[in-house]
């Protein structure tokens, strides 16, 4: 089985979010970038397929050279090769189109992406890839088994979960649950050394168009101070929620 794992290069979850250039650009000063948490679950599941069932695992990112350390980290975790599509990621459609192009040429059986990346939270790349390459698609995926060309997946739905049967070629949008969190891997020294020798191929973009453009960013208005209510005066809390906040 030939697997491609999409790796989004995102600010670490604790990052302070600021903007520059008249609020038009994300300020990367002092920000640590990591593998998107949803993609980390997918990468670990791909490693499981590789080790238990035999599979090759490539990782891909659409982005500039600054994303290479994140791809190297994925190689250190155990991916075989990395691909960087050499263009700035501008919107979900463009990223999906660039990846879909690599998927078509590479003959992948399974594409694992995260259900969304934690920077723009678009939640569109995996579904768009599936539609562009005419593959089956399951998102919010919390378990995946593959047997030959048949696949069984579970996905989270509002208020529960659903089990589905499908087949390869398949694209999934993965999330926590795909593997146990305790099974997520941290690159060890040997992995890091080996990653240096593994191929990181730079592919030129097909020049996919963008469909949406970011105009500017805004930060939420600063919040007023909390109104504290004494624990022995909960009537006041009930009244505040009723009369002031009007939520009960």
């Amino acid at each position: 089985m030939k697997i491609l794992v999409c790796i989004s290069h995102v600010p670490d979850t604790t990052s302070k979010i600021n903007f520059t250039d008249g609020d038009s650009k994300f300020d990367t000063t002092g920000v640590q970038f990591v593998i998107n948490p949803n993609d980390e679950f997918g990468l670990t599941r791909a490693m499981w397929f590789k080790e238990k069932q035999g599979a090759s695992v490539d990782v891909i990112n659409v982005g500039g050279p600054e994303t290479e350390p994140t791809l190297r980290k994925a190689l250190a975790i155990g991916a075989d090769t990395a691909i960087r599509v050499n263009t700035e990621a501008k919107d979900g459609y463009q990223v999906a189109k660039e990846i879909a192009n690599v998927v078509k040429d590479g003959g992948y059986d399974l594409v694992i992406a995260g259900r969304e990346s934690i920077d723009y939270n678009g939640g569109m790349v995996p579904g768009m890839i599936a539609e562009m390459v005419d593959a089956n698609f399951v998102t919010n995926c919390i378990s995946l088994e593959v047997d030959g060309s048949a696949a069984k997946a579970m996905r989270e739905i509002d208020g529960g979960k659903e089990t589905v049967a499908t087949s390869l070629p398949l694209v999934i949008g993965g999330q926590k649950g795909l593997v146990e969190e305790s099974d997520l891997r941290i690159p060890n020294m040997r992995g890091i050394m080996m990653a240096r020798k593994k191929p990181l191929t730079i592919v030129e973009p097909v020049g996919a168009s963008v469909e949406t453009s970011s105009v500017k960013f805004e930060k939420p208005a600063p919040k007023g101070a909390v109104t504290l209510v004494a624990p022995d005066n909960l009537d006041e809390l009930v009244q505040l929620l009723h009369n002031e906040a009007k939520v009960i």
Binding site: M124, M128, F137, T227, V238
Partner: protein, 320 residues
Amino acid sequence: MSVLVYTESENGAFKKTAFEVASYAKAVADQMGTTVTAVTVNANDVSELGQYGVDKVLKVSDASLNNFNAKSYAAAIAQAVKNEGAKVVIVSQSADSKYLAPILSVALEAGYASNVMEAPTSTSPFTVKRTAFTNKAFNLTTIDTDVKLVGVSNNSFGLVEKTGSATAEDFAPSLPATGVTVESVDKASDKVTIADAEIVVSAGRGMKGPENWGMIEELADVLGAATACSKPVSDLGWRPHSEHVGQTGKPVASNLYIAIGISGAIQHLAGINASKVKVVINTDPEAPFFKAADYGVVGDAFEVVPQLIEKLKAFKAANA
């Protein structure tokens, strides 16, 4: 030219979000000087949609669509969009709509903006405000394609009642082979889900153990709320993963979020920033959650929650 909206139903009845996206579609249609057409799948009584600004309903009735399937639903909606010549397409951000939207976007060559918070700030260029960085910021985005697809965040726009009525028409799209077959659905049907809930009662590691969740459920019950939890709580197996709220869990956009024994780590707050009013109950006055909250009680959950339940019961009885 109309605005087309997909209004979701379950077991024949509309979800609340259906009325919210209809209200949103009406606001866009007013801005553009056009009408609203809704697409429904196996919904029984579609007349209610008229009260939220829908002019025309395309009713799809097909037993093969009883279980949601992203590909078939997207195909049905895409055909309706083409038939109507709609230029703007509105969906909710339920798990199902988020599933079908990217497929629809490619099928229609329509630029897609997800997690949209308010009516467009302009329709030419078509500009919407969406959340970014897991609710830590907003992004103004233009959709530059001829047809535009907008995913409206739940509880962000609200319901706007109108005094209209909708005409209904049967619509029979041709459906593709699905490729994904639902084998089983495991869902508690009597519970309010986090995605739909107007009130969410959430608890963290401060509850000490799963045996103490009775009072959390009781509080939720009194308020007609959904229950939720912080990540360590679901990691420890005290509560199901589907209740885990935050950056790596579910986003919550309720009107009221009550956080009990939750510290308010940045990853948790990221998931609840879109909630309108936040109440925190925590023993530690330095807990970061107090900075994000509107109302706070510094106190022991084991004493505060049972009392709060009594007070709310009394309030409900008095206001019944």
